[in-house]
């Protein structure tokens, strides 16, 4: 049994390192000329997915134009603003362009390019005229988006004007909070707010841009200086040759890229976004399958470690279950994605970080019920098998496991469904699975209710299929 366990373990290690290698090779081989730049996934008009699921916006177009002008390659990766900033800090990504204001605080950890855009924070509220100035905010809630200038502005003003701050990760959630009346107003960068209003958000801007702040492209302090120089040179070129003006006008001019005219019915939304939804759906399914595979492997091994006659192995099993079942999935995901690279300096692709997260978290639950299932088999079964001369491993395999697995099957099916649902949490580290796809679509068209309904139905369909599949397998193997 010891040898068998060893070979299973080494098999796992090999498989896993293969997987790591494959995931790493997703980043292009000629990393010298291709820069990895993080951006926010939902910050129109600076970055957002258009109806063809292609990322566009002032930041995106500028960066591509600069890259072309300066002759370098760039791979722009949309994720959440926080994840984008952290991924540069941790060295996961080379730079970040995400409508990021140049601030003193940020200059402590980032080197910024010359400002490429001047923005300012405005207050927007419902157009019914009840809240028209900062003075009317006393005792009210104000919505902001985490890590933005608007949030900073709110922080500096909330004592003076006596309002409370609520923070959101997504602009759309922030607007919705104002629209439903939970918050009296929101603080947002003026171009973003203008774009949202043009897209049909029923809010009105009541203040002049305050805290007018420059947006900059950022790299980790002391790193990627060449990239920074090229950005500055390229920006100067674009301003000189009129390309800069063309790009900003395209998004902010009177006749900008807007899709208010498009069909906003369920069918219409489904049609417009079927590409994005399909790719998000595929990512969710792929994440689920790979995660279930590794979580099951991890869980079964850790569960078995918990029942072998060795105090040491039992201790390892108990500890692993304790740690990974105890950590919230969200914390574990952020820890693995941003924490570990900060410590080791080794980049981890988001997908791999997501799989590791699910493997540990779901695996810990699997380990717990594998252990429980085996322990639930009557001790007499093991004694009888051993008394016939069967070694521990054979007794386990032929007598205990077949009975234990029968006890575990419902828990397995349950855990697989939970794993599928938990993949949605990985949207936090920027994996564009179904939930993140929903957020991105909503960022563009602000149709929260309808898009979430579509996303929810897709989840239900997949879960139904997974349940059928599990039941079918269960019948087939006659457990």
């Amino acid at each position: 049994m010891k040898y068998r366990l060893k070979s299973i373990m080494s098999g796992l290690v090999v498989l896993f390192s293969f997987f790591v290698a494959v995931s790493f090779s997703v980043t292009p081989a000629n990393a010298e000329t291709t820069y990895q730049v993080a951006t926010d996934s939902t910050f129109p008009p600076f970055e957002f997915a258009n109806s063809h699921n292609k990322y566009v916006g002032i930041d995106i177009d500028l960066l591509h134009a600069i890259a072309k002008d300066q002759g370098f390659k760039v791979n722009i990766k949309p994720t959440s603003f926080n994840a984008a900033v952290q991924s540069v800090q941790s060295g996961q990504m080379d730079g970040v362009i995400a409508g990021m204001s140049i601030t003193k605080e940020r200059e402590a950890t980032f080197d910024f390019s010359k400002a490429y855009f001047m923005s300012g924070v405005v207050m927007a509220a419902k157009p019914n005229g009840k809240i028209t100035s900062l003075n009317q905010l006393r005792g009210k809630r104000v919505a902001v988006k985490t890590g933005t200038s608007g949030a900073q502005y709110a922080q500096s003003m909330h004592k003076k004007y006596g309002f409370r701050i609520v923070t959101f990760d997504e602009s759309n959630d922030m607007y919705q909070d104002v629209l439903t009346g939970n918050s009296a107003a929101c603080f947002e960068d003026s171009p973003v707010m203008k774009y949202a209003i043009r897209q049909g958000t029923k809010l009105k801007i009541y203040t002049k841009p305050a805290l007018s702040g420059p947006y900059g492209f950022a790299v980790k302090k002391g790193h990627n200086q060449k990239l920074l120089r090229m950005f500055n040179n390229g920006l100067a070129d674009l301003k000189a040759n009129g390309e800069y003006a063309r790009i900003t006008k395209h998004y902010l001019g009177a006749k900008g890229s807007s899709d208010t005219t498009s069909d906003r019915t369920f069918i219409g939304l489904l049609k417009q976004n079927k590409g994005a939804l399909l790719s998000g759906f595929k990512q969710t399914v792929w994440l689920t399958i790979v995660a279930i595979f590794f979580a099951t492997l991890f869980g079964v091994i850790v569960g078995l470690l918990g029942v072998v006659p060795s105090k040491f192995c039992n201790g390892i099993s108990t500890t692993l279950i304790y740690i990974f079942r105890g950590l919230p999935l969200l914390v574990l995901a952020l820890f693995i994605y941003t924490g570990i690279p900060s410590l080791t300096g080794q980049k981890i692709p988001a997908f791999l970080a997501g799989i590791i997260t699910l493997m540990f978290n779901e695996g810990a639950y699997i380990a717990a019920f594998v252990k429980g299932g085996i322990n639930a088999v009557d001790d007499g079964q093991m004694e009888a098998a051993r008394s016939l001369g069967l070694p521990f491993g054979k007794a386990m395999r032929r007598v205990i496991l077949p009975q234990g697995i029968r006890i575990m099957v419902p828990s397995f099916i349950n855990q697989f469904i939970i794993t599928l649902k938990d993949t949605s949490i990985l949207s936090i580290i920027g994996i564009i699975e179904l939930t993140q796809t929903g957020k991105i679509i909503i960022a563009r068209n602000l149709e929260g209710f309808k898009v979430w309904t579509i996303v929810a139905i897709i989840y239900l369909i997949v879960i139904t299929l997974l349940t059928w599949l599990s039941n079918w397998v269960q019948r087939r193997v006659r457990l």
């Binding site: 004694e383 009888a384 051993r386 008394s387 016939l388 001369g389 032929r398």
Partner: protein, 247 residues
């Protein structure tokens, strides 16, 4: 009686933490001998039996079976166990396997037999315990007495030369006890070396070559059934027999 010593237990001590269960047992079992161990509940007789195939590891002392000390942790206990059949109070048939698979599992897994040989042997053993019709039955469909007879057949499939019985009839309905005892008597007649922990005094009187009375972790008295049942010397044995015989 054959005088070759099959099992020799010397100064066997077993503690569970602070609880001293066996306090230095010495005992010899000869080839073909049937030894019945009796004694009150909690006297240590089941623990004693479970030490003989190391289902419980002895705290100290030696248990020599065919020149091998099984109390020695270096002994390959799996090899020894192949030659020691054990029958449990609660049968412990493998509930994931059919009756015949229960019997065939160990011979096939331990490469003592091919599938065909094991199947043939299973049929013979089932005939021996009077259950040839149950070859393909599930364990769950059997009565307690039938399960225990299958358990005996399963233990015999490895051709052991010693059989340990741990209260084999205690969990049975009274009408089932006779069938199981009949199988055991037949085994004894065939010359199997048997160590039987039981409360069946009738079986002890009729079948035992020697009866051993265990109380308080020690052998208090042993002898032929006649000596033990008709002329008990130890006062604790006398009181024990009073209780179990005059119900």
């Amino acid at each position: 009686m054959n005088t070759k010593i099959k099992v020799k237990v010397s100064n066997l001590i077993k503690n569970f933490g602070d609880n001293k269960v066996l306090k230095g047992i010495n005992m010899e079992v000869h080839d073909n001998e049937v030894v019945v161990v009796i004694g009150p509940s909690g006297s240590g007789k089941s623990t004693f039996l479970r030490n003989l195939n190391r289902l419980e590891a002895p705290t100290s002392g030696s248990i020599v079976i065919d020149d091998t000390d099984i109390a020695d942790p270096k002994t390959d206990i799996n090899k020894i166990r192949e030659n020691i059949g054990m029958v449990f109070q609660h049968f412990n048939l493998f509930s994931n396997l059919s009756v015949s698979e229960n019997i065939m599992l160990a011979p096939i897994e331990l490469k003592k037999a091919t599938k065909e040989e094991a199947a043939k042997q299973a049929k013979e053993l089932l005939a021996q315990v009077g259950l040839e019709s149950k070859y393909n039955a599930t364990v769950q469909s059997l009565s307690g007495g039938q399960q225990q007879r299958v358990a005996i057949a399963r233990a015999l499939a490895m051709n052991p030369d010693v059989m340990l019985f741990d209260e084999p009839t205690s969990a049975l309905d009274p009408e089932m006890v006779g069938d199981v005892l009949a199988v055991m008597k037949q085994l004894a007649k065939q010359g199997m070396t048997m160590i039987v922990v039981t409360h069946e005094m009738g079986f002890a009187k009729e079948v035992a070559d020697r009866v051993v009375f265990v109380e308080d972790g020690n052998i208090q008295e042993q002898g032929t059934p006649d000596e033990i049942f008709n002329h008990p010397k130890d006062p604790r044995l006398q009181s024990f027999l009073d209780k179990v015989l005059n119900v």
